[in-house]
């Protein structure tokens, strides 16, 4: 296949908007095409396939959201066709809709952001049903008893061995840490209040948990860094905890050419104020810190007005949300591993807090100078559903659009954030970085997010001519074009043409197989035998994710040996 004459942005390979041809053979980008389809992309924008590094798209909490929200299922209904199965839902779509909607937006890779090992079979069952895109899941470690015990005992080697085992048991891709220690404390109705607040019954602090897991992550040389949801997330004044956390790990170095820590959905962790009354943005402080510390990355967690379904392993946070908003609430205890919660809510333009939150996400992306450090997400469906990515891109590209939006919001969005004064408008290369190249780099996916020879043949073509269209003024045109890819090509196959799905291939599932010394693995096994005998409600043989659950695996090797 050859894609001829498009306006190509491939920032990883230094191609910043050049007219050129892209060739794909056997699912990979190659120098020269030997035949096949010819796609005329003259006057169109050609980007690598989109990569979503953080979204909640599969597993038990997504399904809890669906069960709690039959009213959400009624939104976004699309009947089946000869090719497609039926779609339902807006914030918590069914599995098929996830794949179709990502593909229509030009996304070809999406990672589920949090799965407890215990519920990973469910996660993979749903991932298997999400068509088209390649996917993976990050495994939760931040409140796991075995982790807390290794930290308490100061046994870093054993912790690394457990992380490797946990990734294999869950067929997971990376280490996710959510409100470290807080999920365990929630089992007793409590929470941790800061990074030095000890976890009940274990005596370890969030600071120690984060540091140990980061060091274990680097010992194993995992493709992705630790992926952190900070303590005190969602609370006024939490930017101090966020900065304290980052300062606490400044001395740790990455074992690979990537960040040493990814702080996720930063919008929820960049709040000032002593309470909701004097709530304000502290995004400039966070961005300033990132501008001087290039070993850290973040994603936006941009808020989208309208319906959202919050879902997180941060169960005490969800309890707070449910009480504050008098909303539906699901609370879940995941045995020795985590707790979690789900609360549907509506973000309102005229709600002062929501309007400021909206501004914070944009401030973070625009004030952080290096686009490789801050990637675009909505923390789907916590900040809002991923189908709104075109809206976020236009906000990043157009100050005109931001000013229009600010007019319709509560005035505090302008008064309690620096957004009105920000002039920066991203260009197409910036957008290619924050939606493609940077998420791929942050996840450690070397064959994703770029169009160099050897990369996966994942390409998006948008019906927009950067020579004619000024994204600042013509933001409506940009949004329209991004919502319906002219072509989405997945592994060399056209899966979307003119916004319609044309093929439904099964994507691959990434997981990391990390090796550890046998003596350490043995120590972990001995502990786990005891834990399953004493505490777990199921047996270990029913716990591990077997190969049958991952029919199209892409195994990435890592580890100490």
């Amino acid at each position: 296949m050859i894609i001829k004459g498009g306006f190509v942005c491939d920032p990883k390979n230094g191609i910043l908007g050049e007219e050129m041809d892209i060739c794909i053979e056997c699912g990979k980008i190659v120098e020269k095409s030997v035949g096949g389809d010819v796609i005329d992309a003259r006057g169109m924008l050609v980007l690598p396939g989109g990569v979503d590094a953080h979204a909640h798209i599969a597993g038990a909490k997504v399904n809890s959201g669906r069960i709690m929200r039959p009213e959400d299922g009624r939104r976004g209904i699309e009947p089946r066709t000869k090719l497609l199965r039926p779609s339902t839902g807006y914030t918590v779509p069914n599995c098929y809709a996830m794949g179709y909607r990502y593909a229509r937006l030009g996304y070809t890779t999406a990672f589920e952001a949090a799965t407890p090992i215990l519920e990973s079979r469910h996660t993979h069952e749903e991932l298997e049903e999400i068509p088209i895109v390649d996917k993976g899941a990050l495994t939760l470690f931040g409140n796991n008893w075995e982790v807390l015990e290794c930290v308490r005992d100061g046994d870093l080697e054993k912790l690394a061995a457990f992380v490797a085992w946990g990734l294999r048991a869950s067929r997971g891709y990376g280490v996710k840490v959510v409100n470290p220690g807080g999920g365990e404390a929630w089992g007793f109705g409590g929470n941790v209040k800061g990074i030095d607040d000890p976890v009940p019954n274990f005596g370890v602090t969030p600071r120690e948990i984060i540091r140990y897991l980061m060091r274990a992550n680097e010992i194993l040389g995992l493709p992705h860094s630790v992926h952190l949801h900070t303590n005190n997330l969602g609370k006024p004044g939490n930017y101090e905890t966020t900065l304290e956390t980052l300062k606490a790990v400044e001395d740790i170095t990455a074992s690979r050419d990537r960040q040493v820590l990814h702080v996720t959905h930063m919008q929820f962790s960049a709040y000032g104020g002593t309470g909701w009354r004097d709530f304000e943005s502290k995004a400039p402080e966070i961005a300033e810190y990132f501008n001087h510390h290039d070993q850290f990355t973040m994603d936006m967690g941009q808020l989208i007005f309208g319906s959202a379904t919050t879902m997180t392993a941060d169960a005490p946070l969800e309890y707070g949300n449910a009480r504050l908003l008098h909303a539906k609430w699901s609370n879940h205890d995941i045995e020795l591993e985590e707790s979690s919660g789900v609360v549907p809510l509506v973000y309102g333009r005229k709600m002062p807090i929501n309007a400021i939150q909206w501004a914070i996400g944009l401030e973070l992306a625009l004030l952080t100078k290096n686009p490789w450090q801050v990637i675009m997400t909505t923390d789907h469906p916590n900040g809002g559903p991923f189908v709104n990515y075109p809206e976020v891109v236009t906000l990043l590209m157009s100050r005109v659009k931001r000013e229009e939006e600010l007019k319709s919001l509560h005035e505090l969005a302008s008064k309690r954030s620096s957004l009105p004064s920000i002039e920066r408008e991203m260009d197409w290369n910036d957008i290619a970085i924050v939606t493609r190249a940077a998420p791929a780099r942050i996840l450690g996916l070397s064959e994703k997010g770029h169009l160099g020879v050897g990369a996966d043949g994942d390409v998006t073509i948008f019906d927009i001519n950067p020579a004619d269209v000024d994204p600042s003024k013509d933001h409506r045109k940009v949004k329209e074009a991004l919502a319906k890819a002219r072509y989405t090509i997945k592994a060399g196959e056209v899966v979307v043409r003119d916004g319609d799905i044309t093929a439904v291939p099964q994507g691959r599932t990434y997981w990391v197989d990390a090796s550890v010394p046998e003596d350490q693995a043995e120590k972990v096994r001995a502990d786990l035998v005891e834990k399953f005998a004493k505490y777990y409600s199921i047996q270990m043989s029913n716990y591990m994710v077997q190969d049958a659950y991952v029919t199209h695996p892409r195994v990435v090797k890592a580890g100490v040996i």
Binding site: M68, R69, P70, E71, D72, G73, R74
Partner: protein, 259 residues
């Protein structure tokens, strides 16, 4: 007024989904075009004229000057008048479930019995039922936090269970009795029941429920006083206290266990 008459060609054994029977849809169309409108009988897509005889004035008119007359048994025909904004629908007999879903204006008159979910999530307009009505009149569908937000429903007969569930506005008047849990989770609507009712106003946050007959009142309601309204002596209650509610409940007489 332009009148369009629809008569079923036969008895339906499975439900017919006919959400496009609405003055807004019919108004600009000639009779022949109306006949081509898509409806579903069970899982089979078909044309309106395959199931119904369509006749009447052929000249298009504005929706507000359009009357759709339903003649015959429509008890299995669902979603008639969905999202209508103007005009009139008159059913000479029974009308099936979900009539007047989300309507925001216009009028629906049902001379017979109305099925379940009558006027669910309606926003405006008026529905009148001369016979009885089923369950969930003016309610929100599964999971919704708001049912009816505005408009008026009058039922001259009795209504089923969960009358006005999650009412967020509008008025519902039942001249007969209501079943279990009328006005459950009321958030600002007004319900008047001429006859008796069982456990009204559970989880009511705000709004008013008046029962002119006998009511079994929940123990989570606080009795305040007896008041005279329109010549009727009514006991006034406050609740639902389980949910810190500030709703008003009036009942002419109370079954034991109440006040």
């Amino acid at each position: 007024m332009r009148k369009i008459v629809i008569v079923p060609r036969r008895e339906f054994r499975v439900p017919v989904e006919a959400e496009r029977i609405s003055p807004d849809v019919f108004a600009p169309l000639a009779i022949e075009e109306i006949g081509k409108i898509e409806v579903w009988e069970g899982n089979r897509k078909t044309a309106l004229s395959d199931l119904f005889e369509v006749s009447g004035d052929d000249v298009p008119a504005k929706p507000e000057e359009t009357l759709i007359s339903l003649s015959g048994d429509f008890s299995k025909v669902k979603r008639v008048g969905e999202n209508m904004t103007r005009g009139r629908i008159a059913a000479e007999g029974d009308l099936g479930m979900h009539a007047g879903n989300g309507m925001s204006g216009g009028e629906i008159e049902i001379e017979g019995r109305a099925g379940d979910w009558l006027g669910r999530e309606m926003r405006g307009g008026k529905i009148t039922v001369l016979g009885e009505a089923g369950d969930y009149v003016g309610a929100g569908y599964r999971g919704e936090s708001c049912g009816m937000r505005g408009g008026e429903i009058l039922i001259e007969g009795s209504a089923g269970d969960y009358l006005g569930e999650h009412l967020c506005g509008g008025t519902i008047t039942v001249l007969g009795n209501a079943g279990d849990f009328p006005g459950i989770a009321n958030r600002g609507g007004v319900i008047t029941i001429g006859g008796n009712a069982h456990l009204p106003g559970a989880e009511m946050a705000s709004g008013t429920i008046t029962i002119k007959g006998r009511a079994k009142v929940l123990p989570s309601y606080q009795y305040l006083e007896t008041v005279e309204i329109d010549g009727l002596s009514l006991k006034k209650f406050f609740g639902d206290l389980v949910d810190n509610g500030k709703g008003e409940l009036y009942a002419a007489s109370v079954e034991d266990g109440g006040a």
